[in-house]
């Protein structure tokens, strides 16, 4: 069984939010809720010495997922494909996982009765397709592949040491990696939503 991951090549992301809106389009998710993937837009420094950082964040698919650890109803669970997801029928909407996730990647649905999050498009990957955001990103900033296959593009980039997890301080072992993102940005304490 493949152990899939996503690599965000920030060098190719210009914050177009096609992945953000595309996810809602593909999964027919309502407007007015945070959604499963969102864009970070962070500016550092002071005029005119300024840097700006744009990149999407979604569920990091932790190998040691705190959301699963805290869920008392086995709603947050690791599927047979190794993907962390929410079993909607079991979720009571207690939002413990939402509060626990260090990446702010679990989101309550519109009416707050259920938690939701990115599952790497389980519907699509089961059929052999790429996650929708990966498929649709106009500049190819998102790379999807098997982390256990040393020949996959994602493994080769990781082997070259060009990418790492978003927050090095958390030890949840994410399967989403970021290339070309300097440390002070990626380790900012709170990745808040911005417009």
């Amino acid at each position: 069984m493949a152990r899939n991951g996503i690599l965000v090549d920030t060098g190719k992301c210009d914050g177009c939010r096609s992945c953000v809106v595309g996810c809602k389009n593909w999964h027919d998710l309502p407007a007015g809720t945070p959604g499963r993937i969102r864009l970070m837009d962070i500016t550092t420094g002071h005029y005119p010495e300024v840097s700006r950082w744009l990149f999407p964040i979604m569920c990091m698919q932790c190998a040691f997922p705190p959301c699963v650890a805290v869920c008392r109803f086995q709603a947050c669970h690791v599927g047979e494909d190794g993907i962390v997801r929410v079993a909607r029928e079991k979720c009571v909407g207690c939002n413990l996982c939402v509060l626990t996730c260090p990446y702010d990647a679990r989101v309550p649905t519109e009416d707050g009765t259920i938690a939701d999050g990115c599952d790497f498009c389980a519907d699509r990957t089961a059929a052999g397709d790429l996650p929708y955001c990966v498929e649709t990103c106009p500049s190819g900033a998102l790379i999807f592949g098997d982390l256990d296959d040393p020949k996959s593009e994602i493994s080769r980039i990781l082997a070259r040491g060009e990418a790492g997890p978003l927050k090095k301080s958390f030890k949840t072992r994410p399967r989403v990696f970021y290339a070309h993102l300097p440390l002070p940005i990626s380790d900012r304490p709170d990745p808040r939503r911005e417009w």
Partner: protein, 740 residues
């Protein structure tokens, strides 16, 4: 994968509505359009879509859609209408147009379109033909031409070519993005002056090239997303409206240091020695004072551009409008003297493998009618063959009740109340028209002034129209039948023509025959294109498309077949033959007395990646990402004015007022406020109401002085001086209502 849904290949219409756009696969389930994905066979987007394309479904099923033909029952502008039948609507229009022509002449009929159909697309041809068949040439985009055509007039006069020389990103080692949205804006800022016809492919190309080592330089008062994530080699935050000074100083440095392309200048340019004299005072130190860019940076930029063999630059919407001439002449000179023209990696002229179109019957317009066109004697109108009215003159003719003013106006998908400067004056002009028809997919502030409102189907509900890009032909296809009583604008136009007795000129109303006529120049039939819905048809490329340095042909219409570094033809108009910097009339240097009360410079950006000009803010998936119009300002400026992030603020210029939410951004000059144009829409699912285009709404066009224009082209300034203060949110307006 398809979830058991029917998949229909079509094209997106988020960029050039009705033209060649990104290929899309529309999914339909139980008769409902449910989702989209990119068409992997389409060469422009290869399976990708942008955020706007992704939200097509919510655009089609939108509460703001205009559903039925209506006629006005209340005062103009009040927004009260009554439902009528298509027959009543079209018969009334046909009768009124014919009567108006009879009484006040063909030139009193006018048609305007905005983004509603691509330039040079099928709609454009059909509507020109319709007006010409009636003997009128008063085709206007009713709204100033403020981005594409004014600047192009200067480029063509100097360096020739049929259109802009566009950046060859694929081969460039240096890319200058000059006051562009870097591929994120509307066509005005994103795509038009590039090789590609849509928005996203531009930034994708640039990012790919940067990854391969090309240097990217951003010249813009704000750090655009393209320059983020470490991609910008330099960001030069130029003071808004002073870009020409920067360009002139670059020319100065290139000539002073002998970095120009001697062979190219000797062989292909005229006027170099005079240019040398003219440019002598434009030293980097002079430009530093005006632009705020250090002289050393200007010198570096000039040297880098001149000495990088494969260097391209893109200007899209001109950053200077009243002083357009200085900027629009300096840029072609920069490209010409460095030889960065029609060479690999430089600015090149791109041609499709064929052009689509049918005759527009322009010979039916009499010379006398052309001479009566509003603004017929303005330089750009006169030299452009008087095929379109001059927008400011149209407005002035209406306000002054001039004898040759337009009386009846057909508006297809244009919303001048929001897109044109001085909306209060536009409202007054709209009120003075005897008869106005608005055809649109949605209610707009402009539609409040219509006598008759016609509901257009979205392109996803229409049979489609062919388009071409490079050598690829494709067409959009119907995804679902028109909702409510909406109709395809092409059919409406054909129907109207037949009702007016013009059936002979309009294929007796036959859509298929019209499409075949449109396709005939490339020898492809409509049915062949329909049979190739998924992949389109690829025409053979020609040597002329791929060849470079085609100077004999490109410059052949220029005097002596050479680039004109000086345009003598401008002198009799009272304009300078060389670019001469004046600056925008309302800036701190030119209007110090205003500066005392209005200390900040305001300009606006057209669009961003999630909205487009004055529409698409009613789409919930897009609107939730930016709920309110923002004005970007530097945190230091905000502190000085007691403003915090997220506050509603009032922006006051000598001419008007607008409101916006403060977005604090370190990546913008502290003396500058960047507003965004095109806001007015409500979004009911998110509880947001429509806002007036007039003062105290959210429209930057209220702030500019509409008298400040480029004399030759009428381009109207988008720079002014303002002050900013905390305020409450704007009032919502009552939606347009339908009466019993």
């Amino acid at each position: 994968m398809n979830h058991g849904e029917r998949i229909i290949p079509t094209m997106c219409h988020g960029c050039s509505y009705g033209g060649y756009n990104c290929g899309m696969l529309a999914h339909v389930k139980d008769g409902r359009f449910v989702r989209v994905e990119g068409n992997p066979h389409h060469p422009l987007n290869r399976g990708k879509l942008c955020a706007k394309g992704q939200s097509a479904v919510q655009w089609v099923y939108n509460e703001n859609r205009l559903k039925f033909p209506m006629k006005r029952t209340g005062e103009k502008g009040a927004g009260a209408f009554k439902r009528i039948s298509w027959d009543e609507a079209l018969d009334t229009i046909a009768k009124t147009l014919l009567e108006t022509r009879e009484q006040t002449g063909p030139e009193s009929l006018m048609l305007s379109k905005g983004q509603s159909s691509s330039w040079a697309g099928l709609h454009h041809f059909l509507w020109m033909r319709f007006m010409h068949a009636l003997g009128s040439t008063t085709f206007s985009n009713w709204g100033p031409s403020v981005c594409y055509s004014p600047q192009l007039m200067y480029h063509k006069a100097m360096i020739g070519g049929p259109t802009y020389a566009r950046p060859d990103y694929d081969n460039a080692d240096l890319i200058l993005e000059w006051f562009t949205g870097g591929g994120l804006g509307g066509p005005a800022r994103g795509g038009v002056e590039t090789l590609d016809t849509n928005l996203r492919s531009v930034s994708v190309k640039i990012m790919e090239r940067v990854e391969k080592g090309a240097r990217l330089i951003i010249i813009n008062p704000q750090l655009i997303p393209l320059g983020a994530n470490g991609r910008a080699y330099r960001w030069l935050p130029v003071r808004p409206g002073t870009d020409a000074a920067l360009a002139l100083a670059m020319i100065h440095v290139i000539i002073r240091e002998g970095l120009f392309d001697r062979d190219f200048v000797a062989k292909w340019c005229e006027g170099f020695d005079e240019l040398k004299t003219h440019i002598a005072p434009c030293r980097p130190a002079w430009a530093e004072e005006i632009t705020g860019i250090p002289a050393g940076d200007i010198e570096d930029l000039a040297r880098l551009y001149a000495t990088t063999k494969r260097a391209c630059l893109r200007v899209s919407e001109a950053p200077q409008k009243a002083d357009l001439a200085a900027f629009a002449m300096a840029i072609p000179i920069l490209m010409a003297i460095t030889g960065h023209l029609d060479r690999e990696g430089a600015n090149i002229w791109a041609f499709p493998a064929g052009r689509l179109g049918f005759p527009t019957l322009s010979e039916r317009v009499t010379p006398a009618a052309r001479e009566r066109l509003p603004g017929a004697d303005v330089y750009s109108v006169r030299t452009g063959g008087r095929h379109a009215a001059f927008f400011p003159a149209v407005i002035e003719s209406l306000i002054s009740d001039a004898p040759h003013r337009p009386r009846a106006l057909l508006i297809f998908g244009s919303n001048p109340m929001n897109t044109a400067r001085n909306p209060a004056l536009i409202a007054e002009a709209l009120k003075r028209l005897a008869f106005t028809v608005v055809v649109d997919v949605a209610f707009t502030p402009t539609s409040r002034y219509a006598d008759i409102l016609l509901p257009a189907a979205t392109r996803y509900e229409c049979r489609g129209q062919p388009g071409i890009w490079r050598n690829h032909l494709a067409m959009s296809h119907r995804v679902i039948p028109p909702l409510w009583e909406t109709r395809d604008e092409l059919d409406v136009t054909l129907d109207l023509a037949c009702r007016m007795g013009l059936g002979g000129d309009f294929w007796e109303g036959n859509w298929t025959a019209m499409c075949n006529a449109f396709l005939s120049p490339v020898g492809v039939t409509l049915s062949a294109l329909q049979d190739n819905a998924l992949k389109g048809i690829t025409l053979p490329s020609t040597d002329y498309i791929t060849r470079r340095e085609r100077y004999e042909i490109l410059f052949k219409d220029l005097p002596n077949g050479k680039i004109q570094l000086a345009v003598r033809a401008f002198e009799p108009e009272g304009a300078a033959a060389f670019p001469t910097y004046h600056g925008e009339p309302e800036d701190p240097a030119n209007a110090p007395e205003l500066s005392a009360h209005y200390p900040l410079i305001l300009t606006d950006e057209h669009s961003d990646s999630i909205n487009h000009h004055a529409w698409m803010r009613d789409i919930p998936w897009l609107r939730e990402l930016k709920r309110q119009p923002v004005v970007k300002l530097n945190p230091a400026t905000a502190r000085a004015h007691g403003i915090e992030a997220g506050d509603w603020v009032q922006i006051i210029s000598p001419h008007g007022r607008m409101k916006a939410v403060a977005r604090l951004f370190e990546g913008i000059r502290p003396d500058t406020l960047m507003a965004q144009h095109g806001w007015w829409q409500g979004c009911a699912p998110l509880g947001l109401s429509e806002v007036s285009p007039l003062n105290d709404g959210v429209n930057p066009n209220c702030l500019y002085n509409w008298e400040n224009r480029d004399p030759l082209t009428g381009d109207i300034t988008k720079n002014t001086l303002v002050r900013i203060e905390k305020a409450g949110p704007p009032q919502g307006v009552r939606p347009i209502r339908e009466e019993g």
